[in-house]
Symmetry: C2
């Protein structure tokens, strides 16, 4: 089996950790910010010094390509994103780009002959931390979002639009360069797991079979605000009490649906939120995800069956966006499993609970993802960590699966 | 029994409702703001046209005095405050000042002979809505707060200090004019109930026997923040789940202590408060009040007995300020009950769940409060309402109790 260069893989991660580095570790590298542009410049220098051709499309997505041996075959593409959340880590996103780059560097410097051209990609603004929503560029390419509307999005906490930031970046290229199903034939995205499962189970690799379906709700309790000192308990319509009851009930009811259902009440708003006033309004979010859409449907049933009144407070809910479960390409998954085993690594098939550009790309091209373990399951934090060994193994799996795909596609 | 002038009482409430009036009703009349100073100017004009002597002390408290018939007797004082919260109503505070003023006007214009001088008072900054804390000036007079520290308090959401606002008001007088136990012998404070009890029980008057004791806590749950999509439920340490459990448990345990214990969890902070992230930190407030300090002590026991860990989250708590139950003067309470009955009104003894300047004054002078009903128990809102009849009855009780006290003190 082939292997990438372990030290070189590690050097790449170290080198890119400088861009947006925070004192004490981690990075803030918001999309199209100065550190993100510095990271793009470094990427450009590295791919061009390898002799790859770098192109960008009209929304600043980057494509660095190395030719194949057979004229006219479509490209196999691999990559991820280099933007981070605020106070993020050195692995989420950038690992996928650098593992792909290291695979390309190995192919080029070792003279590995591939029939197809290979492309290393950087997606613009995956996190959505500066410009909402997340996965903006893959969403534009896949017509999930209207480009004009996205260009007009103003940065969170600032005044610059996505369109202005893109213009200023100097990375606007030709729309014809966008990822498409004529010039490309398969997509791989390596990524950190962002969860604890691989580490807990002592596994090297997650072969990601898809992205789980999900639903999102806001659940709202409306009571009556009154004075904390003068309103007897029996007269109260306390929205926070009611919300607490509903949170507990949802844990019971949703917890019984399936062991591997994940659900989260992560955001809560309380009004007037004064310690001497009984709350009259509480809204909290519910996010639930599972690979089996029947289970997701049962979550919807639980929400619909919530009582209309709790402790005298009116209960209502608003459904926000959801998504169906995305299934990745069975052939690519097979190559990932075969090569993982060939390399002597342990792995399991798993679903990604988080969204990734791959979920949109999968509607265009055969796609698959590779997960490497995340220490303590943590991501979107400065302490995000995967070991050099883990990072190297993920790239080795990608390299060998790429060779497999190159033979068959 | 004596009666104040019903139309005049109503006119006073209507006239003062102009100062800080909001479109659609209610007022915002923050302490020492322009509308509050306009209300003071109106008060000055009215008391001086009645022939009363208006004085102010060094923190802008106003004292309008009418002489008694016996030389050298101390004054009986009655009053409240004219400042409001943001988006407050036309009764909280100002009713007490205007009922007192109407009583004085009745005494003066009807030629009612009282042995003691009588004083109508306005306390500066009772609400604490502009300058924290509440009951600032009575607290300074009673040495609860250091004057220098209070003068340095910066307005909420602005840059002006209490000292600067006081200076600009033109109302700084002599420290010797402060309420004291040589020149004054008793204090009455009429106020709206701010709770639903009188209305629900169909009563005219609350004879306020004291201010309930209270304790305040912040209860903190610390878990681990992780990704909503990638962290199996069994791995989670979800601080919002844990907080919801503790809120429910506190309702059960505190609710069993006494029927008339009031307790409120009114404020909640959740971090990071993002719908796709498991909360790692939730803090919520607990405010509990009861007239029996043994019951308050049992609340403390319940808090101390909370488990140190809930659903894998560390539980801790911080005790904030509390107060012991304040008992008002038994003689004054007797006059209030006698005169209420003499007027043919229904009443009950009750405790104030809210704090009032009277609670500090009660350490200096025999003090008592009179409550009139609040529609729907509401206060600190633009829809705060007591009927002209209710307002008039409260002033009648004050007038007759004043006459009783005048005979005995």
């Amino acid at each position: 089996m082939l292997e990438v260069n372990r030290e070189r893989m590690h050097e790449k991660l170290s080198a890119f950790s400088k861009f947006g580095a925070l004192e004490g570790g981690g990075i803030t590298r918001l999309s199209l910010s100065e550190p993100a542009l510095a990271a793009r410049a470094e990427f450009k220098e590295r791919v061009e010094s390898l002799g790859m051709i770098l192109e960008s499309d009209d929304i600043g997505n980057l494509y660095a390509t190395w030719p194949g041996t057979v004229e006219g075959l479509p490209r196999i593409v691999m990559g991820s994103h280099i933007d981070s959340v605020r106070n993020g880590g050195n692995y989420d996103g950038v690992y996928g780009v650098l593992a792909s780059l290291e695979v390309a560097e190995t192919v080029i410097t070792e003279g590995i002959k591939l029939r197809h051209p290979i492309t290393v990609m950087i997606w613009t603004n995956e996190e959505g931390a500066r410009f909402e929503p997340a996965m903006m560029s893959s969403g534009i390419v896949m017509k999930k979002f209207a480009k004009e509307a996205m260009l007009a999005v103003v940065e969170t906490g600032g005044t610059v639009t996505f369109g202005e930031a893109l213009e200023a970046s100097g990375w606007i290229g030709d729309e014809a360069n966008r990822l498409n199903d004529r010039d490309y034939c398969a997509y791989f995205e390596p990524h950190i797991e962002q969860g604890p499962v691989l580490e807990e189970e002592g596994l090297d690799i997650g072969v990601v079979a898809g992205v789980v379906g999900m639903v999102n709700y806001d659940i709202i309790l409306e009571g009556v605000s009154s004075h904390a000192g003068t309103t007897p308990q029996s007269y109260r319509k306390d929205a926070l009490r009611a919300a607490s009851k509903v949170v507990m009930d949802l844990w019971d009811k949703l917890g019984a649906l399936a062991d591997d259902l994940v659900f989260t009440m992560g955001e809560i708003t309380c009004r007037p939120n004064i310690h001497t006033v009984v709350p009259n309004y509480v809204k909290f979010s519910l996010d639930a995800r599972h690979q089996d859409m029947n289970i997701v449907g049962k979550v919807v049933d639980v929400v619909k069956a919530l009582p209309s009144e709790v402790y005298g407070c009116k209960l209502s809910y608003e459904e926000h966006w959801g998504r169906k479960t995305i299934q990745f390409d069975e052939r690519l998954l097979g190559y990932l499993e075969t090569t993982t085993k060939g390399l002597g690594y342990s792995c399991k098939r798993m679903y990604s609970g988080a969204g990734h550009d791959a979920q949109y790309v999968s509607e265009l091209l055969p796609s698959a993802m590779i997960f490497i373990p995340s220490k303590d399951g943590l991501s979107h934090t400065v302490v995000e960590y995967s070991s050099p060994e883990q990072a190297w193994r993920g790239a080795n799996v990608l390299l060998n699966a790429l060779v497999e795909a190159d033979q068959s596609f």
